[in-house]
């Protein structure tokens, strides 16, 4: 009787271990299938001209993605410039000024909730806020939308990173007569700078593939992104969407896969590069 029970327990255990191994394999296999398909289908589109020419309507030769690539960079960099300074200051407030713990808790909670905000709603929000009053789509509006998505992420990372700075550093700095402001900016932020840069770059990688907000703000154009401030701005995610859903032509689909490959490689490279270059030594006590 007892022996049978042990057998059953061991059997259940083995079944469970096989199931969890399968789960890991299945998850990684699904990802490998997707990534390898993007690579295989995308490689066919790649050529020097693909990176150098702007996108053109179907049928026009020498079409590329150069304008969308440039536009995406402008939009994402714009978002980073808009979001980073206030987000870091907001993080400093959460981490350094603790005289109203309740207010801090509410703000931290809001930031956590905002991190889960559906990006399509951010698109709607900025559409009403900027596109309707201005009367035109613009790359700047797209930057603002992405900045809104980045803001809570950078804010929370900043708080976490500043929280890891040893307290003795603050005390030492204040003790030699530095002001609170100088202590925070010159001592604490500087000693946490690796973490801060990591947080900003990872947030940047995350928003650079965001599509839904751009449909409402940047839209798309077959031109160079000279109209960043005042007109539709070409960008990679909307180019992929347009080419794969609104076009029946195989050539467009192929270009879409090429663009998908480029943006996947860029996002992954930014992720891996950040993690390797700015790796924190977590083993230190």
């Amino acid at each position: 009787m007892k022996k049978k029970k042990l057998f059953k327990r061991k059997l259940a255990n083995h079944i469970f271990r096989i199931f969890s191994l399968l789960a890991v394999l299945l998850a990684s296999a699904a990802m490998l299938v997707i990534v390898s398909h993007v690579i295989r289908a995308g490689c066919k589109a790649l050529s020097p001209g693909f990176f150098l020419n702007p996108s053109k309507p179907y049928g026009v030769p020498d079409s590329g993605i150069a304008n969308a690539l440039l536009g995406s960079m402008m939009i994402t960099l714009g978002a980073a410039l808009l979001a980073t300074p206030p987000a870091i200051c907001a993080g400093i407030y959460l981490a350094e000024f603790r005289d109203h713990p309740k207010v801090t808790a509410v703000l931290r909670f809001s930031a956590n909730v905002m991190m889960g905000m559906p990006s399509v709603l951010v698109g709607l929000f900025v559409y009403i806020l900027m596109v309707v009053p201005a009367g035109h789509f613009s790359g700047l509006a797209a930057s603002v939308a992405l900045a809104i998505i980045m803001f809570p992420v950078v804010m929370r990372t900043t708080e976490d990173m500043l929280g890891m700075v040893p307290y003795a550093l603050r005390e030492a700095s204040l003790a030699i007569g530095m002001t609170r402001t100088r202590t925070t900016l010159k001592i604490i932020c500087r000693s946490a700078r690796k973490g801060l840069i990591t947080g900003i770059l990872l947030a940047l990688a995350r928003v650079s593939g965001e599509t839904a907000p751009l449909l409402f703000t940047a839209l798309f154009a077959d031109s160079w992104p000279g109209d960043y401030l005042s007109g539709p701005t070409p960008n990679m995610p909307v180019l992929i969407t347009e080419y794969s859903t609104n076009s029946p032509f195989a050539a467009m689909h192929q270009a879409g896969w090429g663009a998908a490959l480029v943006i996947t490689v860029l996002v992954l490279a930014l992720n891996i590069g950040t993690r390797i270059l700015f790796r924190e030594k977590r083993h230190a006590p």
């Binding site: 469970f16 969890s20 993007v38 809001s110 909730v113 905002m114 402001t181 943006i263 996002v267």
Partner: protein, 309 residues
């Protein structure tokens, strides 16, 4: 004197920046509420339960979108959560090298833009569903003949698009995300507890089921809710494969739509009452995702509070 003035203004500046986040959240609410006012005036609460979406007759109801959102999310979660939990338990128990490599891989996969998943779904998964999976389910297994629940599972007509495909894409997309959170939560179980369980003769399954999961249950729920929020609000991955039909879904094979997909799909050509209806849908999505995020944060916070941090 001067010194403290600088400090004072720096602090206020930081407070202002932090306050922006609260203002933003309020702004979302107020703006969606203001812009959807017209629909609430015309249809009232019936907007939530009306099944009709007819821009020509100016009749709008949210129920098809809500039903599509909830059912595709339910399919996604019921696939992703068991897999993510099993994978997370495997990762926590695995050898350090495997844990490191797979852990980084999962973090990276969570970073792939959702439009890529959508595109893959459209060009690879939809044909696969149409040619292999749906014929197998409907013609070989005949799951639509299962008594009582069969007619909600499948039908004889299929074209690859639909709720099931959308749910599958969402599941693939949120799996690494949930798995990463669950792994972090499970890693917080004190090793002493697990070792004690092994010490009294528990198998790995029993240690996981009776010690690790109960210890981290709040964190696990928090992680699941975060995945749920992500699946609810996801636009691009679903938009490509769900079929975009403004009708009540009949079963898992029917073409449908989600709130986010409806907004992204119909907004460009909408005006007047329809635009207002889309804002009302946005407001519903906002309320849903806020509630889920609040639950998630509450669970995750009480998970850390448990350990007295």
């Amino acid at each position: 004197m001067k010194k403290s003035a600088i400090d004072h203004s720096f602090k206020w500046f930081c407070f202002f920046c932090a306050g922006l986040i609260g203002l933003l959240m309020l702004g979302f609410f107020i703006q969606l509420l203001l812009n959807s006012r017209q629909v609430w005036e015309v249809f009232g609460w019936r907007f939530l339960i009306s099944r009709e979406w007819n821009p020509v007759a100016e009749k709008f109801g949210a129920l098809p979108s809500i039903a599509g959102t909830l059912s595709s999310t339910a399919i996604a979660l019921s696939i992703a959560v068991p897999l993510a939990l099993a994978a997370a338990i495997f990762l926590v128990n695995a050898a350090p090298l495997i844990r490191e490599v797979l852990g980084h891989a999962i973090d990276l996969l969570a970073a792939i833009p959702s439009v890529i998943y959508g595109m893959w779904g459209l060009f690879v998964l939809v044909p696969l569903m149409q040619d292999k999976i749906q014929p197998f389910l409907a013609d070989t297994l005949k799951i639509q003949r299962v008594p009582f629940i069969g007619k909600f599972l499948a039908e004889d007509y299929y074209n690859g698009f639909g709720i099931l495909t959308g749910g599958l894409i969402l599941a693939i997309m949120i799996l690494p995300y949930i798995c990463a959170i669950l792994r972090d939560v499970l890693q917080m179980t004190p090793p002493m507890l697990r070792e004690a369980a092994y010490g009294v003769g528990c198998t790995r399954l029993e240690a996981g089921k009776d010690i690790v999961i109960p210890y981290g249950i709040r964190g696990i729920l928090g992680g699941v809710f975060i995945g749920l929020g992500r699946a609810l609000g996801e636009t691009m991955a679903v938009l490509f494969v769900i079929g975009n039909m403004m009708e009540m879904p009949q079963n898992a094979f029917s073409g449908s739509t989600t709130i986010a997909a409806t907004i992204a799909n119909s907004f460009p050509e909408a005006d007047g009452l329809q635009r207002s209806a889309l804002f009302a849908l946005g407001l519903i999505l906002l309320v849903m995702s806020l509630l889920i995020q609040i639950l998630a944060q509450w669970y995750l916070r009480s998970a850390t509070a448990n350990r007295g941090e």
